[in-house]
């Protein structure tokens, strides 16, 4: 099968790419929500991200991708203690999925044929330490959403059913995409996504031509195309790895904290999660830029993604949240030109 489209070859959509890279650097950001039109490269970006991410080390054959043999759950009966390298898991959660497939359930096959009670892990187990991708997240059935909320919050999947009592870690980055015209997302789920991005089809003809050009080259001249772009993806991967190492040492000056708080107060964002996410994202961006301190430019760059979905919202208000964030940014930090940092 063909390699996925390279991440660095995606034309435009800078905010989406930035948000995805930030979650790769700082998994505690706990997710990206990508809302926008069809055919704007949402799925392409997620699949490209999977190929871009640095590999993880896990115990061979462990169903929950444990990093150490001691962390393997008992029910999995993992015999091996060997560590193997594998790509970061990116698991698709299809819309019509049943609860059993998501959480895992009694292994019916073994129960009926061998009369044994065994646990068959679900998608949440497979997504541990990786990404869980939900396309059309706003059409997901409510009971699956409830279940995801619970697991995303606790980082642990608990299965109590059919005589089974199983728990296993399920820490993953949620990536959701959808088309807002088809329905809205429950605020509770909205809040679980650290960052949210709005993508639109590029209106610039040159950009559209460039998209077709690269896509065409990818389809018909794959070798040459990958030869051009694979090194760039490799460079990006190195940068992510460097940023991960640098992240703990990125300093947050007093002024940065104050800026975060002021911005959130001015916007009237609900709760403190907004400030935390804003700070985390800004730190991750600073690390990615190779700087040792969070500056206003970082806050300015991540504020729309981190805050736009957290504004208290009048359901009948038509003014976009993006516009409100941008306006408040201008009010708090001053116009963009003067804030040259």
């Amino acid at each position: 099968m063909k390699q996925p489209f390279p991440f660095s070859a995606i034309v435009g959509q800078d905010e989406m790419k930035q948000a995805m890279l930030l979650t790769a650097i700082e998994p505690a950001l706990s997710g990206v929500l990508v809302f926008g039109d069809r055919g704007t490269g949402k799925s392409t970006a997620v699949r490209a991200l999977a190929a871009l991410l640095p590999p993880i080390r896990q115990v061979e054959g462990c169903p929950v991708n444990s990093a150490r043999a001691a962390e393997c759950p008992d029910w999995a009966e993992v015999g091996s203690t060997r560590l193997v390298k594998r790509p970061t898991p990116v698991v698709d959660l299809p819309l019509g999925v049943t609860e059993d497939r998501v959480t895992g359930a009694l292994d019916i096959e073994r129960a009926l044929t061998r009369g044994e009670k065994a646990f068959q892990p679900g998608l949440l187990a497979r997504a541990n330490r990786g990404y869980l991708y939900i396309d059309e997240v706003n059409l997901l059935e409510d009971h699956i959403v409830d279940l995801l909320l619970d697991v995303a919050q606790s980082g642990e999947n608990v299965v109590e059913r059919e005589g089974l009592s199983i728990r296993h870690p399920a820490r993953f980055v949620l990536v959701g995409s959808g088309n807002p015209e088809e329905g809205e997302l429950r605020p509770q789920l909205l809040d679980r996504f650290g960052l949210s991005v709005e993508v639109t089809s590029p209106t610039d003809v040159d950009q559209r031509i460039e998209v077709l050009r690269r896509r065409d080259a990818y389809e018909h001249d794959n070798d040459a195309f990958m030869k051009t772009w694979r090194p760039r993806d490799g460079k990006l991967r190195k940068r992510i790895e460097a940023a991960r190492t640098a992240l703990p040492s990125v300093a947050t000056p007093e002024q940065g904290l104050r800026d975060c708080a002021e911005l959130c107060v001015a916007l009237g964002a609900d709760g403190l999660r907004g400030e935390l996410t804003l700070l985390r994202a800004a730190r991750a961006l600073a690390a990615f830029d190779g700087q040792d301190e969070v500056g206003r430019s970082h806050l300015r760059a991540v504020a729309p993604s981190a805050l736009r979905h957290r504004l208290r919202r009048d359901p009948l208000d038509e003014a976009g949240s993006t516009a409100r964030v941008a306006r408040t940014l201008g009010d708090v930090f001053g116009p963009y030109q003067t804030a040259a940092e």
């Binding site: 099968m1 055919g39 019509g96 019916i108 096959e109 044929t113 088309n179 088809e182 329905g183 003809v205």
Partner: protein, 544 residues
């Protein structure tokens, strides 16, 4: 476009599909049952990879593969079955307009992996039905056989030349496709890729190694025409978006193929009433995907019902205890017959699945009078009233739909959706003026209520009007007939058992409207006396 032309184009499209199934993603065939469709479907069976037929209610394990339970139980060892969604497969989805979002997502992800093609057989009776946009966006070709008569049809040649040359698509030609898509208002970035694949394949089938203008034209007709969201500017206009920035650097990079030519090709293939249908189409597409509501009797949540015999199709959950109970009495007999030392003998007939009952989602259909008399009086206030009801609906997480009636017709402005923002936008853009076709409005409301019920939603209808009906159902301006028609429709709504609410938006309460409300068996509320609290109280009473 005549039927023969359509037929010839269909023949070409089928050959393209045969030559490059995965590059084109597949074919969306809109046709009612008939000889033309039969001929095309028969030709599809002659594709190099004959399609596997699936239907919208197919079980997920049949698609993705899994354990064959019946075989496993009788063999005593796990028997795995391959799914239909293998790489390189061609899938034919019948009744595609009834495809649910879950199946659409599965098929979409499979298409995204880029190794198969999907054929949608769309038998939509009218414009209200449409295959899920998640699929149509990922499928290159579109054919509509609506105007093909039997005499237009001819033999379909699916034969491919033994060797196909490799084709080059000049960069100007490729850019021209991107520009054309942009000027047709096609937002998605997938179609230009499909057009490029179609043009290449058209050339290769002709035995040429260079894409020519005719190939580009055909590609645009087949992949762009049905997606056009804006009518291209007329010919005399400079329709291609200018690219001055390129022309400054010496050599002109402006596409050599005049984009006008491609636009002309698409324009010729555009349905004549495109403009009038554009607005509808947009809301329709948005609505159909999210519209299907929960069924009354589900297998996932709600109040548990007794388990029933069933098959494990990946959707229902097994009731293990009930299954064992059903199998228990047979154990000695089966053990004796089987003579193996298996402890447990279960046949597929023993399988019991869980079943739940739940109340379905509600949809509140607003039928808003936007006629001249209402506009003169208090359209703005009516809009305000609808907004109160909308926020009420939002709090209850109901679906809302909007019908506006004025002049001599009623339009479904917004099919059932949960998107409040959209409802608000449509309401704000509702123009006023013209006669009051009250009966037509009620008829549209009744039809929408029926279709919503078919999707598992429970409909209620809120009518906002000043009650001065003056346009009859047949469009004639006759106050007497108009009122009689409206009364008839109200009684129909009552017999359909649709809950309702009538809000009088006139300056003075209209007696005729009160009678109408009685015929409809719905509470009547005169807006002059109804404040916000009264309104939401009335809605609560109606919706329970």
């Amino acid at each position: 476009m005549s039927g023969t032309e359509t037929w010839n184009r269909a023949a070409l499209a089928l050959r393209l599909l045969a030559a490059d199934p995965s590059g084109l993603g597949g074919l969306w065939l809109r046709a009612r049952p008939g000889p033309a469709r039969d001929a095309v479907v028969a030709a599809l069976d002659r594709l190099p990879v004959p399609p596997r037929r699936i239907h919208p209610a197919i079980a997920s394990d049949a698609l993705s593969g899994g354990m064959d339970l019946a075989a496993t139980l009788s063999a005593g060892t796990p028997v795995l079955r391959d799914g239909l969604l293998a790489p390189g497969a061609t899938i034919l989805l019948t009744s595609a307009e009834r495809c649910g979002s879950g199946l659409a997502a599965t098929l979409g992800q499979w298409l995204d992996r880029g190794a198969g093609s999907l054929i949608l057989l769309d038998e939509a009776a009218d414009g209200d039905e449409c295959p899920p946009p998640a699929l149509t966006d990922r499928i290159g070709l579109f054919l509509s056989l609506d105007d093909v008569a039997l005499r237009d049809t001819g033999p379909l040649d699916m034969h491919l030349p033994a060797s196909l040359p490799t084709v080059t698509l000049a960069s100007e030609q490729r850019d021209a496709l991107a520009v054309t898509a942009a000027s047709l208002g096609i937002a998605s970035l997938r179609p230009p890729g499909f057009a490029a694949a179609a043009a290449r394949t058209a050339a290769t089938l002709d035995g040429r190694s260079q894409v020519q203008d005719a190939d580009l034209r055909l590609a645009c007709e087949l992949t762009f025409a049905h997606r056009a969201q804006a009518t291209p500017a007329p010919e005399d206009d400079t329709s291609a978006p200018p690219e001055e920035s390129h022309e400054q650097d010496g050599e002109t990079q402006r596409p050599e193929i005049p984009d006008d030519m491609l636009l002309d090709a698409v324009r010729a293939a555009l349905p004549p009433d495109l403009l009038s249908r554009l607005a509808e189409a947009r809301t329709r597409r948005a609505g159909t995907a999210g519209g299907s509501g929960a069924a009354h009797r589900g297998n996932r949540r709600g109040r548990p019902l007794p388990p029933r015999p069933g098959t494990l199709d990946g959707r229902a959950r097994i009731d293990l205890v009930a299954t064992l109970r059903a199998a228990a009495p047979w154990q000695p007999m089966r053990r004796a017959a089987d003579r193996t030392d298996r402890r447990l003998h279960i046949r597929s007939a023993d399988i019991r699945v869980k079943q739940y009952e739940e109340t379905s989602d509600r949809v509140l259909i607003f039928c808003v009078d936007a006629s001249g008399s209402a506009a003169m009086a208090r359209l703005a206030e009516a809009k305000g009233a609808v907004e109160i009801l909308l926020s009420e609906a939002y709090a209850r997480r109901d679906h809302v739909a909007l019908i506006g009636f004025r002049g001599n017709r009623a339009d479904v402005l917004l099919p059932p959706t949960r998107s409040l923002v959209q409802a608000k936008r449509h309401l704000a853009g509702l123009p006023g003026g013209g006669g009051t076709p009250l009966a037509a409005g009620l008829q549209a409301g009744c039809e929408l209520a029926r279709t919503s019920r078919g999707r598992g939603l429970t409909p209620s209808l809120a009518l906002l009007t000043d009650g001065r009906a003056n346009i009859a159902l047949d469009g004639s301006a006759n106050r007497g007939t108009a009122e009689a028609d409206a009364g008839r429709m109200a009684r129909l709504l009552r017999t359909e058992g649709i809950a309702g609410l009538v809000i009088d938006t006139g300056r003075r309460p209209a007696r005729s409207l009160e009678e109408l409300a009685r015929a409809f068996d719905a509470p009547y509320l005169a807006l002059p006396r109804a404040d916000a609290r009264g309104l939401s109280g009335a809605v609560s009473a109606v919706l329970g």
